[in-house]
């Protein structure tokens, strides 16, 4: 006799009910989405407004409110794949070493003589000493600046590689330090991109590291990839330098420890600056758009304690001299220092309009990207196209579902009805799982669901056909049903495991829409096996127990 323990019945029905409940919010997408946004805003400490109240009232709080994320191809938005130029950071790091190296070598001046910085490829610092016999002393002095690498893999290694040849000392970053730096650069870039995207106030952006040096950025609802690039792509590197001269000649020759930078708003004016910055944007803690004493848009900034100290010392020692505020290799302004600025805050004035000041403040606040990025891939999908795709997918899915229902009921009668009820639960379960794990539904993902509709039927068909066969050997309907399930199981399991392997491989190797497809296919396989061998079977058993038919027709 076919039997299912009472606790198993409760478990199976419980899973089905939970699935239906968790899938429910997706039917009311346009209600639940504002509700979620409002709830998130309240969570973040927003002051309650009538709009927020209204949004909160649209969905009962005791019901689940998880939604399936709609992919960019469905919702519209921008997708960028960026590559971070990790080598840039090596150059900046080595550059920052120069004052320390200079001071260290000055301390051993008696042995090495005078020192002079040489031109070198980026990422390398070369210093020529006038007494070659003091090379070992010079190398030792510079090596003393090195510190152990701070990373798990680089334990015991030093961060600087110092070599000497003839009369030249050369400093680069060590191998382990490069790896550790790469990792920090990526994390910092991710963090800064996240902050910049968040500042712009878009919803549910995806910002992921891919491989060693890539970042995937997907922002739903943004107008275009270029807009997104403008938001995150700007490096906004802010530094403060001592000024050694002003010139109109762009060909002016400068020393190796100096820089020539054009002025942002004065045509044909160039500044000669000390290469090593006094303070850099890394020390910035806050930045706000403001208006200066003349009522023109400006940007205020505030340093952290160490930045404030350095800035205070510098301004104190150089009253009457100019200093330059350099943004992205252009001199924004070069005011004269009137007095020591010890409070650690200041104001940048320039030829900004309000919008520029606002954007600059955002960029400064979010910090500078540690390295430049190049964009390898960009995609923009307009919201209308996404809506069209959703509509087309909906219609196609409903028609597909209706056709399958008619076909199955015509072929298997009541058993077909059971299978179709299970299929409905199956689809609800897919949406429930996707909502719960925060999965993303893409256009190929919809195709994956439609395919699941087709394939979910297969497991039921296998069982029903098997029951038909067993009925022919006439050992009673109960026995036929039991044997049908028993004998079809091996084929169902084998067939679905192979398809699942493919979904897993697609998920691992795929990206973007392919991955979305793999997710829905994989979940669809799991839920369809569950509904076919547990849910349909439970329906049949429940029906059988009530009716006790002497014969059945499948």
């Amino acid at each position: 006799m076919i039997q299912i323990d009472a606790w198993k019945r409760v478990l199976i029905l419980g899973v089905c009910l939970l699935g239906l409940l968790w899938a429910l919010p997706n039917l009311f997408y346009s209600r639940v989405e504002p509700y979620n946004d409002a709830a998130a805003a309240v969570e973040a400490g927003a002051v309650s407004t009538p709009e927020i109240e209204a949004a909160l009232a649209r969905w009962p709080g005791f019901l689940p409110s998880g939604l399936v994320n709609l992919g960019l191809d469905l919702r519209g938005g921008a997708h960028l794949l960026a590559e971070v130029q990790l080598e840039d950071v090596y150059a900046a790091r080595v550059e920052g070493l120069w004052p320390e190296v200079r001071d260290a070598l000055r301390d051993v001046r008696g042995e090495v003589g005078t020192i002079r910085r040489q031109d070198a490829p980026p990422g390398e610092l070369r210093v020529r000493i006038s007494q070659p016999e003091g090379l070992q002393a010079a190398v030792d002095a510079v090596r003393a600046l090195a510190s152990p690498v701070v990373s798990v893999t680089g334990v015991g290694e030093s961060d600087l590689a110092v070599t000497g040849a003839g009369d030249v000392v050369s400093v680069t970053l060590g191998e382990a330090e490069r790896r550790a730096t790469d990792d920090r650069t990526m994390q910092q870039s991710l963090e800064i991109i996240r902050r910049r995207v968040d500042e712009a106030g878009t919803r549910e952006p995806t910002i992921q590291r891919q491989g060693a040096d890539r970042i995937l950025i997907q922002v739903p609802g943004i107008g275009s990839a270029s807009e997104l690039k403008a938001l995150i792509g700007t490096t906004a590197k802010l530094t403060f330098h001592a000024v050694s001269g002003r010139t109109a000649d762009p060909e002016t020759r400068v020393d190796a420890d100096e820089l020539l930078r054009p002025s942002l708003d004065e045509e044909g004016v160039f500044y000669v600056l000390e290469r090593a910055p006094v303070v850099s944007g890394d020390d910035l803690t806050d930045s706000q758009p403001a208006f200066d004493q003349n009522g023109l848009p400006s940007v205020t900034f505030r340093f952290n304690p160490s930045g404030a100290r350095a800035f205070g010392q510098f301004t104190g020692a150089n009253v009457g001299a100019p200093f330059a505020i350099v943004l992205d290799e252009e001199v924004v302004t070069a005011p004269t220092i009137r007095e020591a600025i010890t409070g650690g805050s200041g104001q940048i004035t320039g030829n900004f309009d309000v919008e520029e000041a606002n954007r600059l403040a955002i960029l400064l606040r979010a910090g500078a990207l540690p390295a430049e990025m190049t964009f390898l891939e960009e995609r923009t999908v307009g919201p209308e196209l996404g809506q069209d795709s959703i509509d087309a997918g909906k219609v196609a899915s409903l028609v597909a579902l209706a056709a399958v229902v008619v076909f199955m009921v015509a072929a298997y009668g009541l058993f077909g009805v059971f299978a179709m009820a299970a299929l409905g639960i199956n689809i609800a379960l897919i949406f429930a799982v996707l909502s719960t794990i925060g999965g993303t539904l893409t256009l190929p993902g919809i195709a994956g669901i439609v395919l699941t509709i087709g394939m979910a039927v297969d497991a039921n068909v296998l069982v029903f056909e098997r029951i038909r066969e067993e009925l022919r050997t006439a050992r009673g309907p109960a026995r036929a049903i039991e044997l049908g399930y028993e004998r079809a199981l091996s084929a169902i399991v084998d067939a679905n495991i192979t398809t699942f392997i493919i979904a897993a491989i697609l998920f691992t190797l795929g990206s973007g829409p392919v991955r979305g497809f793999a997710v829905t296919l994989g979940i669809g396989i799991l839920t369809s096996v569950f509904t076919a061998i547990f849910v349909t079977r439970l329906f049949i058993v429940l029906w059988f127990e009530r009716r006790r038919p002497k014969t059945i027709e499948v």
């Binding site: 199976i12 964009f375 390898l376 196209l385 899915s397 190929p444 394939m455 199981l489």
Partner: protein
């Protein structure tokens, strides 16, 4: 009254046509390879790099005018195709513009796209750009590599799984069927010059999944019958197995095809190539389960040990609930 696609008891001699069908499969595969070699595949920007811009306008698409507007920009090979779709309402005119990857440009330049958009807007002020996609040559090269690895990895994983669950002859037969399906699908893509992109790879993998599903169900029955009819010649056991699973094969393929045809007609032009590939693959996959996979197993022969345990076919069996 039940819908029955096949009578309850059939005893059709499927394997009688094995030489013809196998020959036909070989010829079809050779033809597909020739078409592929001669005509090549219409690779999308996923694999070639470059930019595609989708335009939508209330005015009729004038491909010539578009071309004249873009030509002065000197972007190299530009292809413009008008997109027709039964789901478009009147007054909705869509075109697809593809621009080749620009020499020496690793990153995608927003300026180029802006220039093209401005040029098109000067021809047709009502034009909008619902989607713009650019892929740099560096990434596209990697995408091809990943795609090939994905297909090969799936084949290898299936080979191992079938080998573990059945015998090596079945494994070889299943893989032969899968290669057959993949080659024929690629052949169709080359023949009709349907755009071949990442979604197509997903489609091919789906076909592999579906086809293996079908093959495994028939193999499963074959294994069961080999134990049941120990003395019957292999070819007869095969015929019996195909006949016994025929009803299921047609029901499943039928329902899946119904779902896919709905998607093909109503799903919109964006995923049509993708759905077409899967639809075609299911037809081919159903055929190859019987006539390629089985044929190969028949040729290789199966070792039949009369002393083998009789429950070999039901390792996973047992009531699930």
């Amino acid at each position: 009254m039940r819908l029955k696609l096949v009578p309850d008891e059939t005893n059709w001699d499927f394997m009688r046509w094995r030489h013809w069908t196998f020959g036909a499969s070989v010829v079809a595969m050779v033809l597909a390879l020739v078409v592929w070699a001669v005509m090549g595949l219409n690779f999308g920007i996923d694999f070639l790099g470059g930019t595609t811009i989708r335009t939508e306008s209330t005015a009729a698409v004038d491909v010539g005018a578009y071309r004249d507007a873009i030509a002065p920009l000197g972007l190299g090979d530009v292809s413009i195709t008008e997109v027709f779709d039964p789901t478009f309402e009147a007054g909705r005119n869509v075109a697809q513009i593809r621009i080749q990857a620009q020499d020496g440009a690793e990153a995608v330049t927003a300026e180029t796209i802006a220039q093209v958009e401005a040029a098109l807007a000067s021809v047709d002020p009502s034009v909008t750009f619902p989607s713009v996609e650019s892929v740099g040559p560096k990434v596209s090269g990697e995408l091809i590599q990943t795609a090939v690895i994905a297909v090969l990895a799936s084949l290898a994983a299936i080979l191992v799984y079938i080998w573990l669950r059945f015998e090596w002859q079945f494994s070889v037969g299943a893989i032969a069927a899968l290669v057959h399906d993949v080659v024929l699908t690629i052949g169709v893509f080359a023949l009709f010059q349907i755009r071949f992109d990442l979604a197509t790879i997903a489609a091919i993998l789906t076909i592999i999944g579906y086809s293996i599903n079908d093959t495994v169900v028939i193999f499963d029955r074959l294994r069961e019958n080999l134990v049941k009819y120990k003395k019957t010649p292999l070819i007869e056991v095969m015929n019996r197995s195909v006949n016994e699973t025929l009803s299921r094969t047609l029901m499943t393929s039928g329902t899946t095809l119904l779902a896919l045809i709905a998607l093909l007609v109503l799903g919109g032009d964006v995923i049509r190539g993708f759905v077409f590939a899967i639809t075609w693959g299911i037809v081919v996959g159903t055929y190859s389960s019987v006539y390629v996979a089985k044929n190969v197993v028949l040729m290789l022969g199966v070792e039949r040990d009369p002393k083998a345990p009789s429950d070999a076919g039901t390792q996973f069996a047992g009531p699930g609930a």
